[in-house]
């Protein structure tokens, strides 16, 4: 993969990720990084230079990468296990289950270039199942940050949290979202970015800024859309979902499979506690070849697509 230039005003969240990990490592000697020959794709070159003895490269061996992470945690380290999300979560799923989740190991799993960032490389390199797999293991905290600020905050929160955490880190360029100066990232809390009582747009990761643009468009049609950032997928902010259901209509938007991710998680709550009409936007199955942008457009994962789904739901 050649590194595509990041457009002006947009950011690659991996940069925020490595800055946060290096900062943590600078003040906590327990912080180590574990990689599967993924120093470059995880952007950990700077970490390697600053902390050469604290980078464990196990080679192209994801099962061992996750097992070694669990062993390092047993030895008192705080390991950030970083690899392309497709390989980290799929190849090493049983290690994640047994060695990390069930064992309650203090391992921080960092799924890099998640979703369809590797669009043209095909479904082997897409990671649109990772959240569904990991959120079934209740002991793992699953975080899907939306922009550079939230990525850095999620990494710091992961380090401060005693126990397994998965952080999904996209390489797709995103803008820095506007937030109040006192904004805080808290595991288990959804973030309401825009108020609105007609429909709720629930998004995470790279879809959040698109949902905000969709809300602007809907406002021009007289539809007041609430936008809620569900970056904490597990634990999920159930109250925020119930409040969203109270608007009477929910659109969920994720750069992930429509099965078992954000849409599934929200539907589990809504169907049993506060039934309301929903649209679930995401990817249906293995995808054809194409750029990330093209794949997103094809599946309505754009501001226009989100607004259209909301209008369809509201029949306006």
């Amino acid at each position: 993969m050649s590194a595509a230039a990041v457009p002006q005003g947009l950011f690659d969240c991996r940069d925020a990720y490595v800055r946060a990990v290096e900062e943590l490592a600078g003040r906590d000697a327990r912080v180590v990084a574990v990689v599967n020959d993924s120093v470059g794709s995880s952007k950990l070159g700077g970490f390697k230079e600053r902390f050469p003895d604290r980078l464990v490269n196990v080679g192209i061996a994801e099962q061992t990468m996750v097992g070694v992470g669990a062993g390092l945690a047993n030895g008192g380290k705080v390991p950030f296990v970083s690899a392309a999300s497709c390989f980290l979560t799929a190849r090493a799923l049983e290690q994640i289950k047994a060695d990390v989740a069930y064992s309650g190991a203090n391992v921080k799993l960092c799924g890099i270039s998640s979703g369809v960032a590797y669009g043209e490389l095909g479904p082997t390199h897409h990671s649109i199942e990772d959240v569904a797999w990991l959120r079934t293991m209740g002991t793992i905290t699953v975080l899907v940050p939306s922009d550079p600020w939230e990525t850095a905050e999620a990494i710091k929160a992961a380090a401060a949290h005693e126990g397994p955490v998965f952080v999904r880190i996209s390489r797709m360029p995103v803008p820095e979202l506007e937030r109040a100066a006192n904004a805080r990232f808290v595991i288990g809390q959804a973030e309401t970015l825009r108020e609105g009582g007609d429909v709720a747009l629930l998004a995470n990761g790279v879809m959040v800024h698109r949902a905000l643009v969709a809300a602007e468009a809907l406002a021009r049609d007289g539809v007041a859309a609430r936008v809620v950032n569900i970056s904490s997928m597990s634990p999920l902010d159930v109250d925020a979902v119930l409040a969203a259901a109270a608007t009477g209509a929910i659109v969920t938007v994720e750069e992930h499979s429509v099965r078992g991710g954000l849409g599934g998680a929200v539907a589990e709550i809504v169907a049993t506690r506060y039934p309301c009409p929903m649209r679930i936007l995401g990817f249906p199955d293995f995808l054809p070849t194409g750029s990330a942008d093209w794949l997103m457009q094809q599946h309505g994962l754009t501001a226009e697509g989100i607004a259209a789904a909301a209008r369809d739901l509201l029949r306006v």
Partner: protein
């Protein structure tokens, strides 16, 4: 820190008798657990008992009242299906009360069919095979980073070495020269459905480990004195991880179970159980 059996260089032949007694107790107690629970993996419990006793009652340094002591030696039971033997060992070592062994596989017991961290003394959850060596390698890397004195031990079955993850981890251990790591292979030559040789042969097993950068020693896995001496810290500092291939007999100590593949997870009836206990008490 408790070292349960201080080593004396001028050891007499009888100095390992207490380890042998512990091994036989582990055999009897784990078989009782399987008999009462009506399930378990007695063949592998019996083949591993001398290895476990040599570790916990001779080689390892630990304090059962402080199972999270950072300086403790670590043990990973990678052949987690032999949970009866490791639970009996941990109880005998004082990590929890022996009475609790009676709850083996009962509803809500933390002593489920595979070792898990709800049980004091269990370092990592195992059960699916091929998990223990990578985790033990991670522990050993942590020790190497900190120049810590603790040692890391792991026990795998031999059939288990068909799992590729072991060899990934073996490469990393060899590459990083993890001299604080000792792997013991319970080489009983039988797996669930047939002999290892007839399933997927492992030989030349010692050469494989050597080729991955390990020091390799073979021994009789039921010779407690040999095991204890090999598991002691080496006189000269090692510069490689150690693989100890322990030749064992599946079902060791019970005549009708020895080398019989169906006792991998067979459960004795009352008559068989009585005979087995009699043989193990001799």
């Amino acid at each position: 820190m408790v070292k349960t059996a201080p080593f004396a260089a001028n050891a007499s032949a009888g100095m390992f008798d207490h380890v042998r007694e512990r091994a036989n107790w582990i055999r009897r107690r784990s078989l009782q657990m399987v008999f009462e629970a009506r399930q378990g993996h007695p063949g592998g419990d019996l083949s591993a008992a001398d290895i476990l006793a040599s570790l916990y009652f001779h080689a390892m340094r630990y304090d059962p009242l402080r199972p999270a002591d950072p300086a403790r030696d670590r043990f990973v039971m990678s052949k987690g299906h032999c949970s009866g033997s490791i639970y009996a060992t941990l109880a005998a070592a004082g990590f929890f009360a022996e009475d609790e062994l009676a709850t083996y596989m009962q509803p809500r017991s933390r002593l489920n069919g595979h070792p898990n961290r709800y049980v004091p003394g269990v370092e990592t959850n195992t059960g699916p095979l091929g998990h223990g060596v990578p985790v033990a390698v991670g522990m050993a890397i942590a020790g190497q980073m900190d120049r810590a004195e603790f040692r890391v031990f792991a026990l795998t079955g031999d059939g288990e070495l068909q799992e590729g993850s072991n060899w990934e981890a073996a490469m990393t251990a060899g590459h990083r020269k993890l001299a604080n790591l000792t792997l013991i292979v319970d080489r009983n030559r039988l797996q669930q459905g047939a002999s290892v040789e007839d399933t997927v042969d492992l030989e030349p097993l010692a050469d494989k480990w050597r080729a991955f950068g390990w020091e390799v020693v073979s021994c009789d896995g039921h010779d407690v004195e040999a095991l204890c001496r090999l598991l002691d810290p080496p006189a000269k500092v090692r510069d490689k991880p150690l693989c100890l291939i322990a030749d064992t007999i599946k079902g060791k100590g019970v005549s009708f179970m020895e080398n019989q593949v169906h006792w991998h997870h067979g459960v004795p009836d009352a008559e068989q159980y009585a005979q087995a206990i009699e043989e193990l008490s001799a």
